[in-house]
C-alpha cells in the first residue's frame, strides 16, 4: 500500500512542483507584497494597502461592476446556451452549425469592435448592452456546442423511457436533462468566467483606459495601476479579486453538488 502511495506521489510531484512554481508562489508573493509599503523590498504596512483600496471609489466601482456584470452576463449566456442547445435537434447538421457558431470566439477583437461601430451611438449610449452583446455573440456557440455534445452522451434509453411514460421534450429537459447537464454547467461557469475577463480587449479598443462608469471593471483598474507601477495596490486588489473568485467558484461548485446529490 505504502509503495503504491509513494509511486502516486512520484507521479504527482512534477505537477505539484509546476503548480507551486507557477501558481502558488506568485500568489504568495502577491499576498506578501499586498502588505508592503514599497514593492521589491518588503516594508511592512499592515492592512494599510487594503484600507486605502477600500477607500478608493475607483476600486469599489471596478469591483462592483466586475462581479455584478459577470453574474448577469454569465447567467444570460448559460440560459441562452441551454436554450440554443435545447431548441436545436440532435443531428450532424446541428453539430456542424454549432461548430461554426463557436468560431465567433476566435474572432479578432478589432473586427468585433468594428462591427459594434456600425451600430450608431451604441457604444456611447448603452455600453453594458454592447458588452453583453459581444459576450453572447462570442461565446454562445462554444457553450451550446459543449452542452449539445454532453446531451448526446446521455443514454438514449432514458429519453425513450421518459417518452413511453408520456413526458414531452420540455418535461424531460426540466426533470432529467438539466440535472444531467449540471456538472457541465459548472465547468462552463468557470470557463465563462475566464472568457468574461477577456472582454477587456474589446473594452480597451472601444473606450481606451477609461471606459464609461458602467463598464469600468477591475481589469481597467489593474491595467492602469500596472502602467503607473503601483504594485502594492495591484497586489492588494489582486488578492481581493482572487479570494472573491475562489469563493464564487466554490459556492457554485457546492450548490451544484448539492443539486446533483438531491437529484
Amino acid at each position: 500500500m505504502k509503495n503504491i502511495q509513494r509511486k502516486q506521489l512520484a507521479f504527482l510531484l512534477p505537477s505539484l512542483l509546476g503548480l507551486t512554481a507557477f501558481f502558488l508562489v506568485p500568489l504568495f508573493y502577491c499576498f506578501v507584497f499586498s502588505a508592503s509599503r514599497t514593492f521589491g523590498r518588503f516594508r511592512f504596512a499592515g492592512a494599510d494597502n487594503y484600507l486605502a483600496l477600500m477607500g478608493s471609489k475607483a476600486f469599489r466601482l471596478a469591483y462592483g461592476n466586475t462581479f455584478v456584470l459577470m453574474a448577469g452576463y454569465i447567467a444570460a449566456l448559460l440560459i441562452l446556451s441551454l436554450l440554443v442547445s435545447y431548441v436545436l435537434e440532435n443531428s450532424k447538421g446541428t453539430m456542424a452549425f454549432l461548430a461554426v457558431m463557436s468560431a465567433a470566439m476566435f474572432l479578432p477583437s478589432v473586427l468585433v469592435v468594428r462591427f459594434v461601430g456600425i451600430l450608431p451611438g451604441a457604444a456611447e449610449n448603452s455600453p453594458r448592452l454592447v458588452f453583453l452583446f459581444i459576450f453572447l455573440w462570442k461565446h454562445v456557440g462554444i457553450n451550446a456546442l459543449i452542452l449539445r455534445s454532453a446531451s448526446n452522451r446521455m443514454d438514449p434509453a432514458w429519453r425513450e423511457a421518459a417518452m413511453i411514460d408520456g413526458a414531452g421534450k420540455g418535461a424531460f429537459f426540466r426533470h432529467v436533462e438539466f440535472f444531467y447537464l449540471l456538472p457541465y454547467l459548472k465547468f462552463l461557469f468557470i470557463f465563462d468566467t475566464t472568457c468574461f475577463f477577456k472582454l477587456f480587449r474589446e473594452s480597451y479598443l472601444l473606450y481606451g483606459l477609461y471606459p464609461p462608469d458602467g463598464v469600468y471593471m477591475i481589469q481597467n483598474f489593474f491595467f492602469n495601476n500596472f502602467e503607473n507601477a503601483n504594485y502594492q495596490r495591484l497586489s492588494s486588489g489582486g488578492t481581493i479579486a482572487v479570494v472573491t473568485l475562489f469563493a464564487v467558484n466554490l459556492l457554485v461548485y457546492k450548490v451544484g453538488e448539492k443539486r446533483e446529490i438531491a437529484q
Binding site: V25, R37, S56, Y210, F226
Partner: protein
C-alpha cells in the same frame, strides 16, 4: 486535524515558496554597487550629459534604449522586482510616464534634503518647484520651456496689440481675418498631442495641480476649450493650403503664431527670418495669463529610484545633468541638439551670451541675436511665475473626452461632464 504527511507536504510547499520568493533578494543592503542609469538615444541632453559624466566616473553603467516605450517596458518589470536603475530619467513630451502616479506608488526617493542645498542664485527656484508632488520634492526638473507667440512689430502696432495678452489677441486676430481666405489668422505648434490640456496650462488653469487635485471649473475650462477650438480650426485650414508647417510659412501665412519649441534658439531664428524675408522686426509674446503670470513646462526631469542602494551617487548624477552646459546655437533641428532651457542659471546665461555673440546662418545671411532680444531673454526667467511637469495621462484623458467638442460632434457640457467623471476615476485609482 492535519496528519503528519499533510503537514510535511505543507512545510515542503511553504519552504519552496519562500525559497523562490527569496530569489530576487539580489545584493546585500550595505553593498552599493555601480551607479546605474537608463536613457533614450533621442534625448540629446541625457546623451551628452551622461557621456561627459561617465568620462569622469567610469563606474557609471548606462543603458541606452531606442525609445521611451522600450525603456518603460523594462523599467516596469524591474521596478516590480525591486530593481531598476538608481537614476530614473524622463521627458514630459515623449516618455508617457505619469509623475503623479509614480510618486504615489512609492517608486521615487524624496529629494527634499538634497534640494534644500540648492541656492536660488544657482538654479531657477520656480522651475524646481514643479518637481514637488504633494509637498515632497520627488523629481528634479532638468530642462524647461515656455510656449511663445510671435508676430511682426508693425502688425502689433497697427492693431494695438502691444500691451495686450495673447489670450485676448488671438480671438481678436481671428475675427479680423475671418473673411480672408488666403491668410490663416493664427496657428499653433503644440509640440504635444494634448492640445487642450496644453492651452489650459498656458492659461494658468491646469486641469490638476501638484497635489493631484482638480483645479478647473466649468467656465474657465470652457474659455480654454473655445480657444483651443479656434487654434485647431486655424491649423486644419492651413493644412489644406500651401504650407505644411509653421516654419515653412512663417510670417507670410500666419499673422500670429504660437509654438512650443526651444524659445531661446527660436527667438534668434525668427528675428533673422522676419528681417531677411519681410524686412520686419519680430515681436515675441510670452503667453501671459490674465493675471500676468507665465507658466513654464518642465521637459526633462529625473528622480532617484526608491530602491537605490546609492542615493547620494544618484543625486550627484542628477545634479550633474542639471549643471551640464549646453548650446542653443545650432543651424537647424537635429537629433543631437539640446532644445530646451537649462535650469542652471549660469548655463542659461551662457546660452544667451552665445546667441548674442554667434551669428547664425539662416536663409543665406548671418545674424546674431540683437541687443533688445538678448535683454528680453535675460529678463525672461523672472517673468515665469509658475512651472509644471505636464502629465501625459491627464493630457490623454482630457484630449479623449474633449475631442468630440473640438470636432463639433458633441457639445461642451456633455464632454465636460465625461471629463470630470473620468478624472475622478483617474485620481482615485
Amino acid at each position: 486535524m492535519l496528519n503528519g504527511r499533510t503537514k510535511a507536504a505543507g512545510a515542503f510547499l511553504l519552504s519552496g515558496m519562500l525559497a523562490l520568493t527569496a530569489c530576487n533578494a539580489g545584493a546585500k543592503p550595505d553593498e552599493k554597487g555601480p551607479l546605474t542609469v537608463y536613457r533614450v538615444e533621442s534625448d540629446a541632453l541625457y546623451m551628452s550629459a551622461l557621456d561627459t559624466y561617465q568620462k569622469e566616473n567610469p563606474d557609471l553603467e548606462i543603458k541606452t534604449f531606442p525609445t521611451y516605450q522600450e525603456m518603460k517596458d523594462q523599467l516596469n518589470t524591474e521596478l516590480m522586482s525591486g530593481k531598476g536603475p538608481d537614476v530614473l530619467l524622463y521627458n514630459s513630451l515623449y516618455s508617457e510616464s505619469d509623475p503623479l502616479k509614480l510618486a504615489d506608488s512609492g517608486a521615487f526617493l524624496s529629494l527634499d534634503e538634497y534640494v534644500k542645498g540648492l541656492s536660488d542664485d544657482e538654479y531657477f527656484g520656480t522651475i524646481l518647484e514643479a518637481g514637488k508632488i504633494g509637498g515632497t520634492q520627488y523629481l528634479l526638473p532638468l530642462s524647461w520651456n515656455v510656449p511663445l507667440a510671435y508676430t511682426s512689430q508693425s502688425l502689433a502696432k497697427e492693431q494695438n496689440y502691444l500691451d495686450q495678452i495673447v489670450f485676448d489677441i488671438l480671438p481678436a486676430e481671428a475675427k479680423r481675418l475671418e473673411s480672408d481666405s488666403e491668410a490663416s489668422p493664427c496657428s499653433i505648434q503644440f509640440g504635444r498631442t494634448d492640445g487642450i490640456n496644453f492651452v489650459a496650462e498656458m492659461a494658468g488653469t491646469p486641469v490638476i495641480n501638484h497635489n493631484g487635485e482638480i483645479t478647473i471649473d466649468q467656465e474657465s475650462f470652457r474659455h480654454v476649450a473655445e480657444l483651443t477650438k479656434l487654434l485647431v480650426e486655424s491649423n486644419s485650414k492651413i493644412n489644406a493650403q500651401k504650407y505644411g508647417n509653421d516654419f515653412a510659412s512663417v510670417g507670410s501665412h500666419y499673422s500670429f503664431f504660437l509654438e512650443n519649441y526651444s524659445f531661446m534658439h527660436n527667438l534668434r531664428f525668427y528675428q533673422v527670418v522676419f528681417h531677411t524675408a519681410f524686412n520686419e522686426d519680430v515681436m515675441m509674446y510670452p503667453i501671459q495669463q490674465p493675471d500676468g503670470g507665465v507658466t513654464a513646462q518642465v521637459i526633462n526631469y529625473g528622480a532617484v529610484n526608491a530602491n537605490s542602494r546609492n542615493p547620494d551617487g544618484a543625486w550627484n548624477l542628477l545634479k550633474a545633468i542639471a549643471d551640464a552646459p549646453c548650446t542653443m546655437d545650432y543651424g537647424k533641428y537635429e537629433k543631437n541638439n539640446i532644445y530646451y532651457t537649462p535650469i542652471n542659471v549660469s548655463a542659461y546665461e551662457e546660452c544667451v551670451k552665445e546667441l548674442f555673440l554667434q551669428r547664425a546662418k539662416i536663409k543665406n545671411t548671418r545674424e546674431a541675436l540683437n541687443e533688445e532680444n538678448s535683454e528680453i531673454l535675460r529678463a525672461f526667467p523672472e517673468k515665469v511665475t509658475s512651472a509644471l511637469i505636464p502629465n501625459p495621462s491627464v493630457g490623454a484623458l482630457v484630449q479623449d473626452c474633449m475631442d468630440p467638442y473640438l470636432t463639433g460632434d458633441k457639445d461642451f457640457e456633455s464632454c465636460y461632464q465625461e471629463l470630470m467623471s473620468k478624472l475622478a476615476l483617474y485620481l482615485d485609482e
